[in-house]
Symmetry: C2
Subunit: 273 residues, 2 copies
């Protein structure tokens, strides 16, 4: 069935591996009859910095509070036009891909600034004005899929379960769990290409083929089984119930299959090359 897919990407160089993988996204998805929307953040000269200019009318002209003003501008329909346009693209999409190079173990600033500005109060958090009633598996973006595609300079072993940088999926947890599952998206295991600093032409070809294969299963692959807030595991909506992941702490407890013997956040991680 035909779907709409939004591709948000953050690299200014058309020959970069990131952009080559964006080209694969567009080609593969269109070949399968899907409609592709694009947000080329560098090309759009996306405003990265969330500031007072983003609030054409102010709830409180005396003191700039981002939550207050984000909520006011969203609910009153007085948002900055570029923010509103991106929200409409996300709301129209069945899936959102984020394609970027890993910089200091996170998103480039231009992409972080897309989240900071587009993920408004009343939409991505504080949905329906109900505080935290809808979050982590519930919210405005429920039913949509999300998938990160990251290019990583270092070798895969540095990001392995005991690798010196930490496991990639745990480094990305603030994005996958914190920014995407939070407003309700089903987040697929990250696709990663490692060792991009020394990648060969064969490596690039293999990475493109593997990414194309992931895209073909975009609407079939199982998402990371993050525990939904309202599914019973968080009786008070704050802390994991005592009988769940007994005696464990840390990020991994929020993934449903968490067992002491299995490091769940690695299970679905991209393992190319």
């Amino acid at each position: 069935m035909k779907k709409k897919v939004l591709v948000v990407y953050a690299h200014p160089e058309p020959q970069s591996l990131t952009r080559q993988l964006v080209d694969v996204s567009v080609g593969t998805l269109q070949q399968h009859g899907h409609e592709v929307l694009q947000s080329d953040l560098y090309g759009m000269r996306w405003k990265a910095v969330f500031d007072g200019d983003d609030f054409p009318t102010r709830a409180d002209p005396e003191r700039l509070g981002f939550v207050t003003e984000s909520g006011h501008s969203y609910s009153s329909g007085e948002q900055a036009p570029d923010i509103a346009a991106e929200q409409q693209k996300v709301l129209a999409a069945d899936a959102v891909l984020f394609q970027f190079p890993l910089w200091w173990f996170g998103m480039p600033a231009i992409l972080k600034g897309w989240l900071d500005r587009v993920w408004a109060y009343g939409l991505a958090y504080g949905y329906k004005g109900a505080g935290n009633r809808y979050r982590y598996g519930d919210g405005a973006f429920k039913g949509k899929r999300a998938l990160l595609s990251v290019t990583v300079g270092g070798p895969a072993e540095d990001y392995s379960p005991r690798g010196i940088n930490g496991p990639l999926e745990q480094l990305l947890f603030p994005i996958t769990h914190g920014a995407l599952f939070f407003p309700g998206m089903d987040v697929l295991p990250t696709y990663a290409v490692y060792g991009t600093g020394r990648i060969t032409a064969e490596g690039v070809a293999a990475a493109k083929a593997a990414w194309s294969a992931r895209l073909e299963r975009l609407f079939e692959d199982a998402p990371i089984p993050f525990r939904p807030q309202n599914g019973g595991d968080y009786p008070d909506r704050h802390v994991l119930a005592h009988h769940v992941a007994v005696g464990q702490t840390g990020l991994a407890v929020h993934v449903a299959e968490a067992e002491p013997s299995l490091p769940p956040l690695e299970m679905g991680a991209g393992t190319w090359p």
Copy 2:
């Protein structure tokens, strides 16, 4: 003894809690005879987006590669002036404080863009042109201290060892370990103020007092005991040795006291209020 401390902060509102805590930093540090350098990122209208304009001369005019051009511009002394100026401030400082509101479980884009641009190849990574020889406890910033001060909208329990957001120190691991310990800094446990959306005047006063007390111990408090790359725990510089943190995986294995019964990343976390 008199020291130099650089305060890098990211909030445009002078009345915000973040900025009130910056005022405490300046006051307390100067009171103790230290010299304070400031980087008011919003006030400076800091350029958040790392792009081709940051490279006045290009190693490769045909294809923009950030690692290549960052290394070329740093080693040739042809950097963008704002980047070079910030590097000089960091190099002059004995400690660097980062003060910001937690947005989507990470730094505001303007601060991420400070790291993206200022942490150049040859300086913060690829030090001495020796690949990964110097990193994680070694490098250009060895001997300097770093400390995050974050203001958090949600309640502390959401960031507790089994809290629904994940433990704060694990969410910040890409910054503390990945961006600050990586180039050699000693990173202190994060100072956090929670529940800022509903904080009272008494809460603000208590938060300021607690922050001032932390600053008084800035050069005495023990850093987070991240394992140094070159201290023996990573024999091949990539993966933790088998005899260390036996059978464990995930971010916590990179903290030295890691024991199965103790969640080490929570031990030093700020717990206010």
